[in-house]
Structure formats: structure tokens, C-alpha cells
């Protein structure tokens, strides 16, 4: 079996340009490596489509300036790819075949990338272990007894396991960054509006954002270059035209970095803090100015998330009613049709969130909870914006612990939210935020998150790339970090 996919994308690109390999070689290698029964990374694989596309691309001249040409990519199964099943890991869409491409998928295809398949996830992106998937849950390649994180668990696994160098995930409250942390990969949630959401099945519209999941910081920036574009089909997207790699390699001396005290408080496990503190010392030694700061409302992010995300989700998921598409339980009355279809179609976690969301928006509750949450969210955003006047970046651990045992969250729905206490602020404020591997605990990777001001992804990549280079961690699955 070839191992081209273990090379950097610059090296692969050179081989393609020189004609030493063809896109089909990469596709074949990718499918050879995917042992889907082992890790359950994919819900749908498209061997035929990928091979066909690879053959087409093989006929073309490889564009010198397009590093992504001919490379395989995995897409989270809540993003529409024309002609492929889009299940959102739910029974209700188990047999739903998309009839259009998400705008981000159009960009991926135009860049000459090859879609390998659709990755496993928490049902409708609701969860942080990927265990709420209607299908067999994906498995952490570092340790088969541990969760891969979620909700973009399948995407993280497919990159970590070396199936593909690239994957797309979506992040509503940490769903790109937390599984990236658990799998030892790089995951970026870009600024809200940087990447079009047209074709992403909405969970919480004001928080959702699609982002790249990759092996390295540089490759992450390259993929973000390709997928960020103002989209006339998404009114919340914005004009964007910049090279996100432009600051990579630049000196980080005198960079001003803030660490919210909350991010290093007792909500985070000690072992994680130990790894994090090493990073802080490293940065100090390299001339960064680091301060510990208090941020107003920072401890309320989970509560805000539960109110806002569930309120919006209860409305976004109302369209799955058995009338136009998806699972439909034929019943005699309309009400029975709705009830039966939705009872059978949605899993427990999704139903729980729809119910909580409906309650939160009901009557007077809308004022007490939802409107109040929007106000506090605004204040929280302002608190961070105030910080950004003095600091370039904010850092902290991505997750409060490393990947944990499967099945742990089953009896306690709140526990899974606690995984995300450090990552939700970026969604609340719309800020860009990336997780980059910072070390290992018990042979399991753990990520550092770097949050920047709105539109400032380039600076995040600058710091992330610096740390990546300094640490030079062996992130190949199987490497021993005991």
C-alpha cells in the first residue's frame, strides 16, 4: 500500500505536478486505508463517485498554484453534497439524498478536491461524543475505548487515522475544536460568516459555522483560503479575500496574549492544566506578553448556549415533519403523522433539546430566557471585544479533560455540555477559534485553543503554527506518548 497521504500537501502537490502520481492513486490509497468497520468514521462512502472524479481530474493539467487539486476530503454528514445521502446521523434523514451542493461543497469541487464520503457525527450535531449518532458511533483511533469527541467526531477520526488529509466539520458550541483536541488534529471554527452556511443543515443558526479540520496548521489555513467566500445565498456571510497563511512563520515576540482565569480554574482537570502551563511558559520564554484576566459573564456560556442553541434548534428542526422528505410514518390524522414520524425519527438527545427549546421560547418564557440570554450574550461579546483592544489573542485549553470512556454521558445529559465550557465563547461572540495539539496525557492528545478577534484568523494561524513547530509532536496515531 502506498503512503502518499502521509506526506505534506506540498510534497503531494509536487508529485502530482511532476506527474509521478495521479489523483486516482490518492483516492485508492484513501479507500484502502479506510476500514470503516473499525472506526465508523463514515456514514456514507462514495467510492464510485470519488474514483470517477479522480479520473476526470487526472486528465487535466495540475494547476501549479492550487495545492488542493486532486486531494481527497471528507465532509461532515450535515453538509449537502449533490447526489449523496445526507443523514445528519439521524433516522429521520436515513434515506435522504441531497439534490444540491452546499456552497462550501461547490468551492471544494471547484478547487479540484475529491469528496470521499460523509462523516459520522452526533445526531443533528447535538452532542460532544458522536454517540448520539443513529448509526454505530465512531471510535477514537488513539484508544478504542474512548470517545472521539463530537459532534464532528467522524471528521476528526478520518483525519487523525490518516484516511484523508482534510475534512470539513461544523461548530455550534465546540463541535470542530473539541473532537480535534481529542484526536490530535487541527480544527478551526472561523469567524461567524466567514464560510457560507448555505447547505449546512441548521442546528443553531446564529452559532453554526463550517470549518476546516486538518493535520497541520498550514494545511488548515490553505483549506480555509479555499472555502471562505461571501455567498449571495447566505445573508450572514461577508466579503472575504485574504491569504490566511500570510503570517505563518512570522515572529511572535511581543504578541499580547490573555488567559481568562476561568480557563485555568478548577473547571479544568489538573493534568490538562499542567500541559497548558508548559505552553504558557514556552510563550513567555519566546517574548510573548501574557496576562491572566477576568471576563464578565464568562462562566455563563454553557447556560447561554443551552437557551439560544436549543431555542433555535427547536425551530430549525421543525421542518422534519414527514410531509415533503425524509422518514414519513403514514397515519390517519395529521397530528398522528407528525407525532409518529418525529417520535420515531429523532433520537433521545435531539428530542430532549427540541423540547427544552420549545419550552424556552413559549409564551412568557421567551422574555425570561431567550431574550435575556441574547442580552447577556451581547454583554459577553462586548467583554471579549474590550479584551481584544489590549490583547492580540486569548488562549486556554480546548477541553477540560482528554477523551474519556465511551458511554459515560449516557445517563447524564448535562455532563456532555460540561465538555464544552471552554469552547462556547467563540460561538457566542462569533470569534474565530482554533484548537491545535499541545500535548498528551495518558497517550491521549489534548488541544490548545487560540481565539482571535473577529476576522483575525491569520493571527491565530501565526501563533498556532509557531507552537506546532516548537512542540514538534508526533501526532501519528499509534505513536507512544506514555
Amino acid at each position: 500500500m502506498s503512503n502518499y497521504l502521509d506526506l505534506s500537501i506540498n510534497e503531494i502537490h509536487e508529485l502530482l505536478v511532476k506527474g509521478k502520481i495521479k489523483p486516482i492513486d490518492l483516492v485508492n490509497e484513501s479507500f484502502n486505508k479506510i476500514d470503516n468497520n473499525k472506526l465508523n468514521a463514515f456514514i456514507t462512502l462514495d467510492l464510485e463517485g470519488a474514483r470517477k472524479r479522480a479520473m476526470e481530474l487526472g486528465e487535466m493539467e495540475v494547476p501549479q498554484d492550487n495545492l488542493l487539486f486532486g486531494l481527497p476530503i471528507a465532509i461532515k454528514d450535515n453538509i449537502m453534497v449533490d447526489g449523496l445521502r445526507c443523514t445528519c446521523a439521524s433516522h429521520i434523514l436515513e434515506n435522504f439524498i441531497s439534490i444540491y451542493d452546499a456552497s462550501v461543497v461547490e468551492l471544494i469541487k471547484n478547487a479540484g478536491m475529491i469528496i470521499i464520503g460523509k462523516t459520522n457525527m452526533d445526531e443533528f450535531a447535538m452532542g460532544s461524543t458522536s454517540e448520539t449518532s443513529y448509526f454505530k458511533a465512531p471510535i477514537n483511533p488513539w484508544n478504542k475505548d474512548k470517545v472521539p469527541g463530537g459532534s464532528s467526531g467522524g471528521s476528526a477520526v478520518s483525519v487523525a487515522a490518516g484516511y484523508v488529509p482534510f475534512a470539513l466539520g461544523s461548530d455550534t458550541g465546540g463541535s470542530i475544536r473539541q473532537p480535534s483536541s481529542f484526536n490530535g488534529i487541527v480544527g478551526m471554527k472561523p469567524t461567524y460568516g466567514r464560510v457560507s452556511r448555505f447547505g449546512l443543515v441548521a442546528f443553531a443558526s446564529s452559532l453554526d459555522q463550517i470549518g476546516p479540520m486538518t493535520r497541520t496548521v498550514y494545511e488548515n489555513a490553505i483549506l480555509l483560503n479555499a472555502i471562505s467566500k461571501k455567498d449571495p445565498k447566505d445573508m450572514t456571510s461577508f466579503e472575504t479575500d485574504e491569504d490566511f497563511t500570510r503570517l505563518i512563520g512570522k515572529d511572535i515576540k511581543d504578541m499580547k496574549i490573555a488567559i481568562p482565569n476561568y480557563f485555568v480554574s478548577n473547571v479544568v482537570e489538573k493534568s490538562v492544566l499542567e500541559v497548558f502551563n508548559k505552553i504558557v511558559n514556552l510563550l513567555k520564554s519566546k517574548g510573548c506578553k501574557i496576562d491572566y484576566v477576568d471576563v464578565n459573564h464568562i462562566d455563563k456560556a454553557v447556560t447561554l448556549y443551552q437557551i439560544i442553541a436549543m431555542g433555535e434548534a427547536s425551530s430549525n428542526l421543525a421542518r422534519f415533519d414527514g410531509i415533503r422528505y425524509g422518514l414519513s410514518e403514514k397515519e390517519n390524522t395529521l397530528e398522528d403523522l407528525y407525532k409518529k414520524t418525529r417520535s420515531k425519527g429523532f433520537g433521545r438527545e435531539v428530542k430532549r433539546r427540541i423540547m427544552v427549546g420549545s419550552y424556552i421560547l413559549s409564551g412568557e418564557n421567551a422574555k425570561i430566557y431567550y431574550n435575556k440570554a441574547l442580552e447577556i450574550r451581547d454583554d459577553l461579546k462586548k467583554s471579549f471585544e474590550k479584551l481584544y483592544k489590549e490583547y492580540d489573542l486569548i488562549i486556554g485549553p480546548t477541553s477540560s479533560r482528554v477523551a474519556y470512556d465511551t458511554g459515560l454521558n449516557d445517563d447524564d445529559p448535562l455532563r456532555s455540555f460540561m465538555d464544552d465550557i471552554l469552547v462556547m465563547h467563540a460561538n457566542m461572540g462569533g470569534f474565530p477559534c482554533m484548537s491545535v495539539p499541545m500535548g498528551f496525557i495518558d497517550n491521549l492528545p489534548i488541544g490548545l485553543q487560540i481565539m482571535g478577534k473577529t476576522f483575525d484568523e491569520a493571527k491565530i494561524y501565526q501563533l498556532g503554527s509557531f507552537i506546532e513547530k516548537e512542540l514538534n509532536l508526533d501526532l501519528k496515531v499509534g505513536a507512544n506518548h506514555e
Binding site: Y100, M235, R319, Y325
Partner: protein
């Protein structure tokens, strides 16, 4: 007379005549084959997003302006959540909290008494799809899903059915002439609901909503019926319920649809997929400067040219005819309006055609008016050829020639007929000369009869009087 006072509030939904739908690029067209004007957005597919159509916002600004509303410069949309098959996303995008227009009024003229009907608010929202119910099943036509609407809500300031119908007629006229909407009630591009309550005191009574009434006249009838029904119940010491009813025009009755449940909960919240809409004063003024001439201006012009108020209002109410008339600069408006409202309207109605769909081109029509004015042809002549005029591409002169219609305009020939009539009716002539004016009518009738209608009545009349006067 009843001691009860009616209080009525009216809600009107009007479809905006944009090219595309409110949130998708599908065509906004009425009458096409079912489910041909819809896309994944209108169908509420997973992953789709709404994109606001600015033409709809402009038309809403127009509407708000002609309704004398204040216009909100910063607004957002809201989701109204409820499950129903005609509601593809199971939420409707509307403006619950920040309606684009508010605090407006429409002035009505109730037999010379002017009254302002106050508009509480006017907001933009998307239409649902159309349900077609049959015995076993319900079919859905998504052509209407996402068509832009404005909903116009009055304050409960209307107290008679006449005020209600006058308001609706005026509202329709304003929106029609501002070219905001076709306002065709029969096609559903204007839909009226009336909230009716009665009370003996200042405190308002229990409100009953009568939905989707099929014509403006029927709104009046429905209000009258509803007032009586409520009065009878109250007089029988029964308690009224808040309910929704519909008006059955055949039975002239309102019929219960559903009793309003308390706490109908739409779980409104701001639509996160559409950012705030900010309207600048310049933008608002630009839209306002483009509002077409309103009906009142035309009406005044008609009245000045000698058209009766009745006919002027008829023309205004039939915007096609009024628009058609606008195309002529030098034309006798009175003759033209009589022609349009008389035989031509009758013909068009029978054929269910718009005047713009007929073969009555501008030249033909102005020629027609001129020839009628000059007496070259008579009204009777026109009746004989109307079908050809309306359906054939032929100029008037050729048509008249083909039909052998050439009026006797030669005064000598007319005189010959007049003399013949005078000679044959010596007694009547005597009566006339003796001062009996009515005898003239008889003689004129005889002239027309003798000429088989081929003489110009005006010329003949003048000549007849002249000839008779010579005998005095």
C-alpha cells in the same frame, strides 16, 4: 334601533407584485401549473437559507407611504413557529416586533364626512403554500409559498359595515395605484379578515374574527350578520366566545371554524438567518419619489373634464381602463370614458379580457372617439361593429368601408329626409311651433327612423330645429 355599538378592526393581507419571492429567486407568478414556481428554499429543504428580496422591501415602503405610515429604519424579521402542512419550514418568517410601517391612516369619505381609519401597523411576511383539499387527501401547491405579503392592521376604530367597505375600497385603490399589488381578491392577492365585537358600553365586547372574506361587499355583509348574531346571543343572555368564523356568501351567514384557545403560542423569536435591515432616509425618499400618480389625481382630472363622479369612480376602480386612458393626450375624456365604461366594458367582461389583450390599439380608439364626437358614426353604428373593432387588426376607416357604414353627413341629404318628415307630420309640426317642445323628440325619432339610423343625430337635430324655426 339597537343600543349596541359595533367595533371592527380589519386585517388585510396583500401580495406584493415582485418578480421573485420574498426569500428565494423563484418567480412570483399567479396561475401557473402547480409546483412549477418553487425551489428548495420554498420547499423548506434542509440546509437552505432565506435571502431577503429588496424589491419587496421597496414595495412595502411604497405601501407604508401611501397609508401615511411612519417607516421603521431599523428592523428585523421574526420566526412564527407552528406546524401545518402549508407552512413548509413549520415556521413563517414575518415581522412580529418591528413592523416596517406603523401609526398610519387611510382617509375615507362617508357621504361627504371625512374620517381617518387608523392603521396600527403594516408588516412584511411570507405567504404559505396553497392547500387543495379533496375528500381523501390534501394536495399542496408551493407556487404561493414564499410570495411576499404585507399585512395591514387597523386599530379597532371602525364602527359600521359601511366604514369598513369604504376603507377597503380606498385601501385597494391606494395599493393598486401605487402599483404595490394587483389587489385581486378573487385570486387571493388581497385577503380580508374582520374582527367584530359589539358592546353597549365603552368597554369592548368579545372579539370574533371572520376570516378570508371573498369580496369587499361581503365584508360589509359579514359584519352586518356578525353584529346581529352577537346581539341575538347577548340578548338571550348567552356568553360570547372568542372564535374564528368564516363567511358563507351563499347562505349570508358566518360559520364557526374554531374556538380560539387561550395561549396560542407561536414561540416568536428573531430570525437569525437575516441580519437587521437598515433603511436610510435617502433610500426611503428615493422609493417614495418613484410612487406612481395616485388615483385621486386621476379622479380630479376626470371630474374636470366633465365626467360624472359615478363614472370617474368606475374608471378608477377598473385600473386597466384608467391606465389605458392615460395613454392618450388629446382625447375627449368624456366620450372616451362613456365608450370604455359602456359597450367596451360589457364586451371585455363577457370575454374575460383585459383591454390590453384586445385588438383595440391606440390609433383605433382615438379615431373611434373622434368619429363619435364628430358624428361620423353613431353609437348604434359602434354597437354593430364592436366585435370587429375589438378582435380584428384593422383600422377603423377600412372597417367602416367594409361594413358599408358611412353616415349621411351631406347636409342636403339630411335636409331631404327632414323635409319629408315635416311634410308627413304637419300636425306635430304645428304642435311644436305652438310651443310643445316634446314634439321635437317625436320628429327627431321619425328622422332617425326614416334614415335607418344613418344620419348623425347631432347634425340632424340641429338641422331639424333650424328648418322648423324657419317655418315660425
Amino acid at each position: 334601533m339597537s343600543d349596541y355599538k359595533k367595533t371592527i378592526g380589519i386585517e388585510v393581507h396583500v401580495e406584493l407584485k415582485t418578480k421573485e419571492k420574498l426569500f428565494s429567486p423563484s418567480s412570483n407568478l399567479y396561475g401557473n401549473l402547480a409546483n412549477t414556481n418553487c425551489n428548495i428554499i420554498d420547499l423548506g429543504y434542509p440546509g437552505v437559507l432565506p435571502v431577503l428580496n429588496h424589491e419587496a422591501v421597496s414595495l412595502a415602503i411604497r405601501a407604508a407611504s401611501v397609508l401615511n405610515c411612519k417607516i421603521r429604519t431599523k428592523m428585523h424579521f421574526d420566526r412564527k413557529n407552528y406546524f401545518y402542512p402549508d407552512n413548509p419550514k413549520n415556521f413563517q418568517i414575518t415581522e412580529e416586533r418591528t413592523p416596517i410601517g406603523y401609526d398610519g391612516y387611510v382617509e375615507i369619505d362617508d357621504d361627504g364626512v371625512k374620517k381617518k381609519i387608523e392603521i396600527l401597523e403594516m408588516h412584511i411576511e411570507e405567504d404559505t403554500c396553497k392547500s387543495i383539499h379533496s375528500k381523501e387527501r390534501t394536495l399542496l401547491d408551493f407556487n404561493r409559498a414564499g410570495v411576499p405579503l404585507v399585512e395591514i392592521v387597523t386599530k379597532p376604530c371602525i364602527h359600521t359595515s359601511k366604514e369598513a367597505t369604504l376603507y377597503l375600497e380606498k385601501l385597494r385603490e391606494l395599493l393598486l395605484y401605487a402599483e404595490v399589488s394587483d389587489c385581486k381578491i378573487e385570486e387571493g392577492s388581497m385577503r380580508c379578515d374582520a374582527n367584530v365585537s359589539i358592546s353597549k358600553t365603552e368597554e369592548l365586547g368579545t372579539k370574533v374574527e371572520v376570516k378570508n372574506i371573498g369580496s369587499i361587499t361581503n365584508v360589509g355583509l359579514a359584519i352586518e350578520y356578525e353584529g346581529k348574531r352577537q346581539e341575538e346571543l347577548l340578548e338571550a343572555s348567552e356568553k360570547l366566545r372568542e372564535e374564528t368564523r368564516r363567511y358563507d356568501a351563499k347562505l349570508n351567514k358566518t360559520i364557526l371554524m374554531r374556538v380560539k384557545e387561550t395561549g396560542n403560542d407561536y414561540r416568536y423569536f428573531p430570525e437569525p438567518d437575516i441580519p437587521y435591515v437598515i433603511l436610510s432616509q435617502e433610500e426611503i425618499e428615493k422609493v417614495q419619489s418613484e410612487i406612481p400618480v395616485l388615483a385621486d389625481v386621476r379622479r380630479e382630472k376626470y371630474l374636470k373634464s366633465g365626467i360624472s363622479l359615478l363614472n370617474a369612480n368606475k374608471l378608477i376602480a377598473n385600473k386597466d381602463l384608467s391606465d389605458y386612458l392615460e395613454e392618450f393626450k388629446d382625447i375627449n375624456l368624456k366620450t372616451a370614458s362613456n365608450l370604455l365604461l359602456g359597450d367596451i366594458s360589457a364586451y371585455l367582461n363577457k370575454k374575460e379580457l383585459s383591454i390590453f389583450e384586445s385588438k383595440l390599439d391606440k390609433n383605433k380608439f382615438s379615431d373611434l372617439v373622434k368619429k363619435l364626437d364628430d358624428g361620423v358614426i353613431s353609437n348604434k353604428n359602434f354597437k354593430d361593429i364592436i366585435v370587429d373593432v375589438m378582435e380584428r387588426e384593422i383600422d377603423l376607416d377600412s372597417l367602416l368601408k367594409e361594413k358599408g357604414i358611412e353616415n349621411v353627413v351631406d347636409n342636403n341629404l339630411v335636409l331631404e329626409i327632414i323635409n319629408k318628415v315635416i311634410n308627413e307630420n304637419e300636425k306635430v309640426v304645428g304642435d311644436y311651433l305652438g310651443g310643445n317642445e316634446r314634439s321635437l323628440k317625436f320628429l327627431m325619432g321619425q328622422v332617425m327612423k326614416e334614415s335607418k339610423g344613418s344620419v348623425n343625430p347631432k347634425i340632424a337635430n340641429d338641422l331639424l330645429i333650424k328648418t322648423l324655426d324657419e317655418r315660425k
